[in-house]
Amino acid sequence: MHDRSILLVEDNPDDEALTRRALAKNNIQNEIIVARDGAEALDCLFGTGPHAGQAAAPELVLLDLKLPKVDGLEVLRRIRSHPRTRLLPVVILTSSREERDVVTGYGLGANSYIRKPVDFGQFVEAVRQLGLYWLILNEPPPKPDAA
């Protein structure tokens, strides 16, 4: 299940739609799992709460930082502290370019930090490169056994 899926952690439906559109425009066909807040993202990844027994094993996590309940940086910290998700590629995709967010994000083990441009053309280009790199060029770490 969920083979080569992408976990999109995004609370804004507009951004979700635009991201889906950008992925589609770049012919990225992978399944997209959406989590609307940090807590849902964690449940989804660790098979807890509503996702009990069906932990997702995405190929890539696109993580917004400003999230309801559990914020993005905390989600990242939990991902990196769990052995099963320790090596999971996580790209921070956010509006913020506050230096401290960038620094903290990388400090917690983010693989990339991308600021969402307002210009949709630029956003599409960014998503294209991101998909190309992480889903095609990049050799992913070996899949851990599903919990």
Binding site: D14, D15, R21, K66, E98, V118, G121
Partner: protein, 697 residues
């Protein structure tokens, strides 16, 4: 008690005279005895001679009688006649000579009888011859047993002579003894006199030598004293002696000053006031006069002198003169005066000080407090003096203070001394207040004393508290601002992305259903969204410029400018702008912020020369009011100086967006950065004549 020399000499001489008189008396008596003895010897010899003469006269008379008897010649009777005349005298003389000797008197009696009997026989014989003739007379002579009576006379004379002989021997011996005594007495007297004379000579010599030595020592002592003028005045005030100190202090040498009146040492004012004589009168009246006053040296200069004048009187109390001892106290007076001045300075300092200044003794009792301390603590100086320092502090500090004081006195370990500490004080009315205390200790003679300078820091404490509150408020405001900025950066952009993204989606998916005007509208929506996104970004950068900490370092502005120019040229490779960048302009600044400054200023120059082909832009440094002013000069659109004050305000623009795009935030950011560096920024320009932006750091 030690007798005076005169008295001792008198007594010595008295004893010597007595001894010599005694010796002379003894000698005289011996001599008189000798003479006496000699007279007695002569007496004896005379008595013997007269005895011999008596016997000889008698023998001669007998011989003459016999001659007459034989011859009848009467001339033979002359000795007999002479003997009759002298024998009585002789015997009387002998009686006188031997009057002292009863034995001789008795013998003389029998001798006188015998002599008288012989003379009677001679007369009878002579009568017989005359009357009886030669024969009768012969018979008378023969019948006269003549030899026997003569033998008796002889024996009597001999007895007397023997006695006189014995007396002579006795008296000669006595005479010799007397003479020996007299010699002895004479010699003894001479020796005693010599001994006494020698002794007196030695004693007087020694006394004189001692006296001379003492005088010499005293003279040397007085003469060699340099720090004191010691000299004598005669009773009228004329200088009688002089020492080295006097020469040193007053400048006169002995030969020129002795005999001069001492009033020349006084100032003319004192002389006019009659002080010299008054001084002598005072000294004569009371025995001693002391004063401190100005005196004049030979060269006319004045010195502050301590003068002691002592009246000198002889044994009978007659005024002999005055002893003067003068000391030059000018230096000491100067020192004292400067000490007084210094004391006065510090007193005024203490009196005018706003802070409380207190002194305490080793028991911790207050010995001094200044008006500032009176104000701060509410005690008057009279009330507080003698009180323990602890009465100026809240009770909870008193034990610690006492322990600290005792520890310091015992071990010298100081925890508060030499430092400034904050403590609490207690006013007279019992209220507490915060204070700052500087404590010092010093030794006054053998005693330890303390000085405290105390400042009431109630106001400062309140100020500090106020400052802390403000700082906390500022911190909270900053945090709020930060949260706001974060929120702006994140949340305000999201709708813009929707606007832009969905406008694009509309154009892509439904563009064929819109006419050109519809598509143009959507393009305007997208342009507006993107411009707003830039505005937001510029605002965020402006706020981050204000919030971030300055990282000061040596910054090569020339390198930063060159990098900014490279970026500009990349952004529009078609344009040809000549850049002149002065090399190696190094300043102490925050490198990140200076990069923003140069990007903005050079970006502006780039932008506003956009309409001028072959534009020139220069980055350099010049002097302005003694400081280095960096500048960016262009020959572009320029501006009207009337609006120069609007250049640096946020969102202020002098050109329409259509003419020159921009957010109006760049120069506001530059100004903030320069001001944070403590510098200034300003601009000069004229429309179409270019602009120059200056900044200092």
């Amino acid at each position: 008690m030690r007798l005076s020399l005169e008295r001792r000499i008198q007594i010595g001489f008295g004893i010597a005279v007595a001894i010599i008189l005694a010796v002379a008396a003894a000698s005289l008596r011996s001599t008189a005895a000798t003479v006496d003895s000699a007279i007695w010897v002569a007496h004896t010899l005379q008595a013997r001679g007269e005895l011999e003469a008596t016997f000889a006269d008698l023998i001669e008379a007998e011989t003459g009688v016999r001659g007459y008897v034989i011859t009848g010649d009467t001339t033979y009777l002359a000795p007999y006649q002479a003997a009759r005349a002298t024998l009585g005298t002789l015997v009387a003389g002998l009686r006188t000579l031997t009057a002292d000797n009863p034995l001789q008197q008795r013998r003389l009696d029998s001798l006188e009888t015998l002599v008288a009997a012989r003379l009677e026989r001679f007369r009878w014989t002579i009568e017989t011859r005359r009357s009886g003739g030669a024969a009768a007379a012969g018979r008378a002579v023969v019948g006269d047993s003549g030899t026997e009576p003569m033998q008796l006379v002889r024996a009597s004379v001999r007895g007397m002579e023997d006695e006189e002989e014995r007396l002579l021997a006795q008296r000669s011996a006595a005479l010799q003894a007397r003479a020996r005594e007299a010699r002895l007495a004479a010699w003894t007297g001479a020796l005693v006199a010599i001994a006494l004379a020698s002794l007196a000579s030695v004693l007087v010599g020694r006394e004189m030598a001692g006296r001379h030595g003492a005088e010499e020592r005293l003279r040397l002592l007085v003469g060699s004293v340099r720090d004191y003028a010691i000299y004598m005045l005669d009773p009228t005030g004329r200088v009688a002696s002089w020492n080295r100190g006097a020469q040193q202090i007053k400048g006169y040498v002995e030969t020129e000053i002795v005999g001069q009146h001492f009033s020349r040492f006084y100032t003319p004012e004192d002389v006019a006031a009659g002080r010299p004589d008054a001084t002598l009168r005072a000294a004569a009246a009371t025995g001693r006069h002391e004063e401190e006053n100005w005196r004049v040296r030979k060269d006319g200069s004045r010195f502050w002198a301590d003068v002691v004048i002592t009246a000198v009187r002889d044994d009978r109390g007659a005024l002999v003169g005055f002893a003067k001892v003068t000391r030059d106290l000018t230096e000491r007076r100067r020192t004292e005066q400067s000490l007084r001045a210094s004391e006065e300075r510090f007193r005024i300092l203490a009196v005018t000080a706003n802070d409380a200044i207190l002194s305490a003794d080793r028991q911790g009792n207050i010995t001094y407090l200044n008006p500032g301390a009176e104000r701060v603590f509410g005690y008057s100086a009279e009330e507080a003096t003698g009180r323990p320092l602890t009465s100026l502090m809240p009770e909870r500090f008193r034990d610690a203070h006492q322990a600290g004081l005792e520890r310091y006195l015992a071990t010298g370990e100081a925890r508060v001394i030499g430092k400034t500490v904050e403590l609490a004080g207690r006013r007279k009315d019992g209220t507490e207040f915060p204070l700052e205390l500087s404590l010092a200790s010093w030794t006054q003679g053998a005693e330890v004393a303390f000085t405290a300078i105390i400042r009431d820091i109630t106001g400062r404490k309140q100020g500090e508290e106020q400052l802390r509150r403000y700082a906390a408020q500022l911190e909270a405001a900053n945090q709020e601002l930060e949260a706001f900025s974060y929120s702006v950066s994140h949340d305000l952009r999201a709708p813009l992305r929707s606007l832009d993204g969905f406008s694009q989606a509309l154009l892509e998916d439904y563009g064929d259903r819109l006419d050109d005007t519809g598509r143009d509208f959507l393009q305007r929506v997208r342009a507006g969204s993107q411009r707003m996104a830039r505005l937001i970004d510029d605002l965020l950068s402006l706020s981050s410029v204000t919030r971030s900490e300055l990282q000061m370092d040596e910054v090569n502005l020339s390198v930063l400018a060159a990098a900014a120019v490279v970026d500009l040229q990349k952004s529009d490779p078609e344009r040809h702008v000549t850049f002149a960048i002065a090399p190696d302009l190094v300043a102490r600044a925050d490198v990140g912020l200076m990069r923003i400054v140069l990007q903005n200023l050079l970006g502006n120059a780039w932008k506003f020369t956009g309409k001028r082909p072959g534009a020139h832009v220069e980055f350099g440094v010049t002097a302005h009011d003694g400081r280095r002013a960096y500048f960016v000069r262009d020959d572009g659109a320029g501006f009207d100086m009337a609006y120069a004050d609007k250049l640096f305000g946020a969102f202020q623009r002098l050109h329409g967006t259509a003419e020159f795009p921009g957010s109006g935030i760049g120069l506001a950011t530059v100004q903030r950065i320069i001001r944070r560096h403590g510098g200034q920024v300003w601009a000069e320009g004229a429309p179409d004549r270019g602009a120059t932006f200056y900044f200092t750091l």
